[in-house]
């Protein structure tokens, strides 16, 4: 499998779980509700969308539906996608409605009671889906998940050259833009940090190279790895702005992995490099090459993530969002100012759950089938880890945290190749041990996460002329977010 395919799969995962974690961040980060049952809404969104878009009378399925919305709307142009979007909307509404039913009794409880009751309700809902075959086919799950617009793919625009120029050019543009953004951020790194960071990347690269050769070089590799980690530690310690040094190291390592490693390792270097650079263009898809469905689905998921992100940012940067944060910080203050805080909490729960529902719809398509086993409580805990690693109450941080989490959890899958296959379970456990330790370490040393709480661009009342700061401090809701 080319690296590009793996990166596409990873990005899709990050987009889906990022959307899921954004919903959690709305509840936990901004409103202070510890919803340990977040995965329930992910599950409901996935199942409801799958059932709404599935054709009726599927063999091997004994649950409700399917209601075949895309086929019903096929008479309208674009009805296939429209039906699917309606299905997603249905999943989001269903998730929100269930969270309303859960929230009305539980949101009046203390925060720790809320956590355990939410966890309990999510576990019960999972049991219900597993045991009631008439509902969603019980433990056998759904195997016919509708893929929107799948008939149009692989998408070709005409001649080979046109496809190459459009899709390949688009890929190059995306990579160039990402490189530009990262470059302009790491440009200001101090010299010590840059030198030590570069050295650590080289040493670690050498270590991986030696490790993959095996034999006596294995010991050299381990030694180099230890040295590389030491150099990296020194780089972070000595540099003036450790964030920039770390970003440089990550960017260099990612670039080396993505662009240099194929040249060294693969049997067919130029083709592999070409696939990596023009990651959107698949030369063997269709008669003249084109965009395959996995790539399209990644773009679709990223579009959903962007939409969710935009929407969360708008909400949080509005007066409404300020009330949510006030509820989180001290519920008595907004209540004293005449806000019905319970209503705000319920609404935050509804919106967060709807986002989880949308993420669930995408998740079912990415996996191609769903069963209750995929929606264990661990998924919620993963999202909590992502939120806290990236930065609680920071939408960009949540997406970053999700990327870090999945980079650790599935980005290190390639390590499996160097161990006997029976160690796969052990490696998976070791990754999660590492993430658990990382979670505790981050909470201790940097409880606000990598990025910390975000800035809010809200103009507070009495802020414009600002003759004296005392006025703003005394203004209602002036909780120092200027």
């Amino acid at each position: 499998m080319a690296l590009a395919d793996f990166a596409v799969s990873l990005l899709t995962f990050v987009a889906i779980y990022g959307l899921f974690a954004l919903g959690l961040n709305l509840k936990f980060g901004f409103t202070g509700l510890i919803d340990f049952g977040h995965v329930a809404y992910f599950m409901i969104g996935g199942y409801v969308t799958a059932v709404l878009t599935m054709p009726a009378q599927v063999t091997g399925y004994d649950g409700l539906g399917g209601y075949a919305l895309p086929e019903l709307l096929a008479v309208v142009p674009g009805g296939d996608v429209l039906g699917w979007l309606l299905g997603v909307a249905g999943g989001m509404v269903a998730a929100a409605l269930v969270s309303l039913l859960v929230g009305v009794p539980t949101l009046r409880l203390r925060e720790d009671y809320l956590a355990i009751t939410a966890l309990g309700i999510a576990t019960i809902l999972n049991e219900v889906v597993r045991n009631e075959t008439w509902l969603f086919n019980g433990p056998f799950g759904i195997r016919t998940v509708h893929q929107p617009a799948s008939a149009a793919f692989p998408l070709g625009l005409g001649s080979f050259i046109l496809n190459l120029v459009v899709f390949g050019g688009l890929s190059v543009l995306v990579i160039a833009y990402a490189g530009y953004r990262v470059g302009s951020y790491v440009k200001d790194v101090d010299t010590t940090g840059a030198a030590l960071g570069l050295a650590s990347v080289l040493v670690l690269g050498g270590s991986i190279g030696a490790l993959t050769q095996g034999g006596p070089l294995l010991f050299v590799g381990v030694g180099l790895a230890v040295a590389g980690v030491a150099v990296l530690r020194e780089a972070v310690r000595r540099s003036i702005e450790p964030e920039r040094t770390l970003a440089l190291v990550v960017a260099l390592a990612a670039a080396a992995w993505y662009f240099l490693q194929p040249l060294l390792a693969a049997s067919n270097p130029t083709v592999t490099l070409q696939t990596n650079v023009m990651f959107l263009f698949d030369p063997v898809a269709g008669p003249n090459g084109g965009l395959d469905y996995d790539r399209f689905f990644m773009l679709l998921s990223l579009a959903f993530l962007a939409g969710g992100y935009w929407w969360c940012q708008r909400t949080i940067n509005s007066p409404y969002g300020r009330v949510l944060r006030a509820v989180r910080d001290d519920e008595d203050v907004p209540r004293a100012l005449g806000k019905e805080t319970f209503r705000y909490k319920i609404q935050a729960l509804l919106f967060g759950s709807a986002l989880a529902g949308a993420a669930g719809s995408l998740y079912t398509i990415h996996l191609g089938f769903i069963s209750p086993d995929q929606f264990g409580a661990m998924i919620t805990f993963f999202a909590f880890a992502s939120v806290i690693i990236g930065g609680t109450a920071n939408n960009a941080g949540v997406v970053l945290g999700t990327a870090v989490f999945w980079a650790i959890n599935s980005g290190t899958q390639f390590l499996n190749d160097y161990f006997p296959s029976e160690y796969a379970v052990k490696l998976a456990a070791a990754r999660l041990i590492f993430i658990g330790v990382l979670l505790i370490v981050i909470l201790y040393y940097r409880p606000e996460g990598i990025l910390g709480e975000q800035d809010y661009d809200i103009r507070l009342p009495g802020d414009e002329p600002a003759p004296s700061r005392d006025d703003t401090a005394a203004a209602p809701g002036g909780d120092a977010d200027d």
Binding site: P105, G120, F384, I433, I435, G436
Partner: protein, 401 residues
């Protein structure tokens, strides 16, 4: 032929409740004294059960390669698990929770920290032992059935056992109606008498080692059993108006007794020692206790050690009771344990014990009362009880005392 009924469900619920109680008391201590809503408690239970497996089934988990000749009995393995889990309890406090306490971490942070610890512990188990089901190496314990027949002339009791597919009669006796009523009356009288004897001399400063109510119930039950054993008469026939079967085994009785002894020992520590006084003071108000010279760090360490001991106890008993140890067992126990603690009001280990018995009984009686298709919702019943109680009394049944 007699069927199991409500009495059997009650007895089974008592056993389930005892296992939950072992977990719930530890959780309530950690909750009230260390102020950590410990979501890792379930995985602490799992790891306690696996400690026993390390020496009980060295063929399955080869962690101690030097172990000569393999398995030791479950009792020794349980003792090993207690020691190891106590050490781990101290480790959690020293490595994690003491540091966070010194930073004055709030409740939400503690929840997330315990979540991280849960992730580590669960995957540690998966890393070492894998995800398969393992059971303890123990002697086979056969169920003994107590069949009760209520006839017109009295009560007949048959002790039966299933041996090689057939029901064998181990013993049969009975009580006439007048004796039955007499025994019940005597038991009630003794129970009430004990209660009055212990509670009349109490003023507001009296600290009872065992509360008069509990002593009263125990006295009544002891009288009932003693008289019923001593005054066995001839059987009164088996053409019954009402008959029922209670299935028990020495395993069930051992579990209830072990948990009861553990509860009594903890009670002794809490009420009769300076350490216990310090623990209760810390639970009430950590800062005030510190001002009055209580070494809070030491108290916290002791609390985590006790919690470790109790989780190992709960884990080994749960694994023995179900004849199955797997990495998920603690998580399935976590929900009922939390339900019990919240039901009893988080500040009191006594409330937690009572809540645990209540949750255990409601789970098993609920399964008995519901149609058989709903039997898989055993844990859900615990939760529905909890949510129902919280809606009426948001601080739990016994409040924040």
């Amino acid at each position: 032929m007699v069927d199991t009924g409500l009495l059997d469900a009650l007895a089974q619920g008592l056993v389930t409740g005892s296992i939950i109680a072992a977990g719930a008391i530890g959780l309530s201590l950690v909750y009230s004294i260390a102020e950590v809503p410990n979501f890792a408690h379930g995985d602490m239970i799992t790891i306690g059960a696996y400690f026993a497996l390390v020496v009980n089934r060295p063929d399955e988990i080869s962690l101690l390669p030097g172990l000569p000749g393999g398995a030791v009995s479950l009792v020794v393995a349980g003792a090993f698990a207690l020691v190891a889990a106590a050490a781990f309890g101290a480790l959690y406090e020293l490595a994690i929770f003491r540091r966070f306490r010194s930073k004055e971490a709030d409740l939400i942070t503690m929840v997330i920290v315990s979540l991280g610890l849960a992730l580590v512990l669960r995957n540690l188990v998966l890393f070492v032992a894998g995800s398969r089901n393992i059971s303890y190496e123990t002697a086979v314990v056969r169920d003994v059935n107590w069949d009760l027949y209520l006839t017109g002339s009295g009560l007949t009791v048959q002790r039966t056992q299933r041996q090689a597919g057939d029901i064998a009669l181990l013993g049969e006796w009975g009580y006439p109606v007048w004796l039955l009523l007499g025994i019940l009356a005597a038991a009630a009288a003794v129970g009430y008498g004990v209660y009055r004897w212990r509670s009349t001399d109490a003023d507001f400063r009296t600290v009872h080692l065992v509360s008069p109510r509990v002593l009263g119930v125990l006295g009544g039950v002891a009288t009932l059993l003693a008289l019923a054993y001593a005054l066995r008469f001839d059987p009164q026939g088996t053409d019954a108006l009402w008959s029922t079967r209670i299935g028990t085994s020495y395993k069930d009785i051992a579990i209830v007794v072990v948990v009861a002894v553990a509860m009594f020992l903890l009670n002794l520590v809490l009420k009769a020692t300076r350490l216990g006084k310090g623990m209760r003071a810390t639970a009430d108000n950590m800062d005030l206790a510190e001002v009055r010279g209580v070494d809070v760090d030491r108290i916290q360490l002791v609390v985590w050690v006790i919690a470790g001991l109790l989780t190992a106890l709960a884990g080994v008993l749960a694994g023995w009771s179900a004849s199955n140890v797997n990495p998920n067992m603690g998580f399935t126990l976590l929900l009922p344990v939390f339900a019990a603690v919240i039901l009893g009001g988080i500040r009191s280990p006594y409330g937690a014990a009572a809540g645990a018995i209540l949750i255990g009984i409601s789970m098993d009686v609920g399964v008995y009362l519901l149609p058989s298709g709903l039997a898989t919702y055993r844990t859900a019943i615990a939760f529905i009880v909890l949510i129902g109680v919280l809606l009426v009394k948001p601080d739990g049944l016994w409040g924040d005392v």
